[in-house]
Amino acid sequence: MAIQVEHQVQGMRTLTARRVIGVCAMLLAVLFVVVVISLRMGAFPLSVRDIVATLFNGALGRRERIPSEFSLVVFGLRLPRIALGILVGAALSTAGAGFQALLRNPLADPYVLGVSSGAALGAILSLIFVPHLPGAIQIAAFVGAAATIAAVYFLGRRGGQLDSATLLLAGIVAASFLSAGIMFLMTTLPGRDLRGMAFWLMGDLSSPPPTQNVRGWFVLLFVVFAIAAGAIYLTASDLNLILTGEKEAQHLGVNIHRVKLVVYLSASILTGLAVSVSGAIGYVGLLIPHVMRMLFGNDYRLLIPTSALGGAIAIVAADTLARSVVAPTELPVGAMTALAGAPVFIYLLRRRVR
């Protein structure tokens, strides 16, 4: 059909790859600053200059130039915890953005929907039954997450339609039921290496990596994250349409069932991954995508990478606060995110109801 070019509509600014890269570079810079601040915090004093020099030399592989006590504090103690925070924040936030599109509900979040509790219960069961099997805890956490979201999805339907309020109630009920199951297991099965109750119910980044090969461990975690988050990202333009309406998306050529399956599995993997290493940290998946929507708009091609980076920034910052406000003891990071997240959840809920 020959269409005459009439004129460009004013104010139409389409999203470009350049803008996505630019915004992500900016957020990466913010993340770097937060990481440096976080590295400074702690009993052993380090100057910003020391930290930057240590990181720089470490990145270039010039280990011999780093004083050994700096190396121990930065690479041995503080950086692994920060890397864990980056991973967990990015995973939960990406999962949250994914669940929001999948369930067509702006209040969806792995914690609110009970998915994190399901993952935690799965992880605990694997620690009880197959404590020495490598990777079992991650797989069990994924299965727990996937089973919970499936259950919440079916409980949240009314008359064949997904109902927003029913869905949230189903999630809250699932979360409290699964938390009770966790508490039951933790109190009746003492003396095992199951980590603390606070870890599973609130989330905590203080657990050391389970292996000697810290680097290999992190590489593995980040590869799994990249695959799952990448799979969600590849559906970004489909998710944009699904958020406008499922039947409309289908008419525009979106393969709804395939997209939903990809997002369902990937978001469950991300939740399982995060929970297996840090317990159930709440509200990140809700809060961060919303902040990013306010800052950069609702286009998932921009929302997913900015949410991942924003989640990383938020968790590293929250954990830095959690271990410095009440030093020398520390709060679980989940307490910090809940303090910030719960009021925002109420605000969003009220704004939506009105």
Partner: protein
């Protein structure tokens, strides 16, 4: 009752003659029945339905409630597959088209779902370009231009920067139509597009569809309850009743007083206006 195969130009006002040998849409003995799983409604069937539509034609699908109009539209949109029979678009069976190719050929305008997150009008219209993109592809200048053209084709340029949820019913309808046009379809399907419009809005929409069909060679299929607007603006009428295709033809061929009275269950008169098109008047009493 088979589709009248003669060209539908008999009474329509002077319009460029198109090649009668190549119907754009061909519906051949299509039937459909709802799956038994849907317990709330009894198994409802659309009996053998056949008709054709050419370029630049507007076909109105008429019938009382539960006559099968929406089912027919769902079949044409490819949302459901016919139980038997065949639907062809430009000679290709609808069943052979993948989702994206289908979306490049057929656009459906229907009542929209509620938007979860606010969206600008131009962003909404750009969604019509989705079938032409791959994966993450960011919209090209061509996409923007086509979206802009679609907006001006429906006279909605001025709305481009507005938020979707701030539009009036008529404005929203135009923007939804613009998104469908951005798909560059050959077949434009509309499901009761006049439902929430006032009289002026209804006439304006039908005029617009007439112009789009005439100037841009779209084939338009419109499901409607508006007997008089259908008579005035369409080239062919498909009349359905209780899942049966009763008649296919030009408005004058289909608008038979006895028949309409019977299927709409209301006393009415049919007369022919000076322009040759029928007009239906409701009678308050016998």
């Amino acid at each position: 009752m088979s589709a009248a195969a003669n060209s539908g130009t008999s009474l329509a006002s002077a319009r460029p003659v198109v090649n009668p040998a190549s119907p754009r849409l061909k519906v051949e003995q299509v039937t459909y029945a709802y799956a038994a799983a849907d317990r709330s409604a009894p198994n409802f069937a659309l009996g053998a339905t056949s008709f054709e539509a050419r370029r630049q034609q507007i076909v109105a699908v008429l019938g009382p409630n539960a006559s099968g109009k929406s089912t027919l539209l769902r079949l044409l949109a490819g949302m459901v597959a016919p139980l038997s029979g065949r639907i062809e678009i430009d000679g290709v069976s609808l069943a052979d088209l993948d989702l994206r190719t289908r979306a490049q050929r057929i656009a459906l305008v229907q009542q929209e779902s509620e938007l979860l997150f606010p969206l600008r009008v131009w962003e909404f219209v750009l969604q019509g370009r989705y079938p032409y993109g791959r994966r993450l592809r960011f919209e090209s200048d061509k996409d923007s231009l086509l979206a802009g053209n679609a907006l001006s084709q429906v006279g909605a340029d001025a709305l481009a920067g507005r938020w979707m949820n701030e539009l009036s019913g008529g404005e929203k309808q135009r923007v939804i139509l613009a998104r469908a046009l951005a798909q560059q379809p050959s077949l434009l399907l509309l499901d009761e597009p006049t439902q929430h419009l006032d009289v002026g809005g209804k006439v304006e929409l039908l005029r617009r569809l007439r112009r789009l069909a005439d100037e841009h060679r779209y084939t338009v299929i419109v499901v409607t309850h508006e007997l008089n607007l259908a008579a005035e603006f369409s080239d062919r009428i498909v009349l359905l009743h209780k899942g049966k295709c009763l008649r296919v033809g030009s408005p004058t061929e289909v608008y038979d007083r006895e028949l309409l009275q019977q299927i709409f269950d209301a006393p009415l008169d049919v007369d022919i206006r000076p322009n040759g098109r029928p007009r239906v008047t409701l009678r308050a009493s016998e």
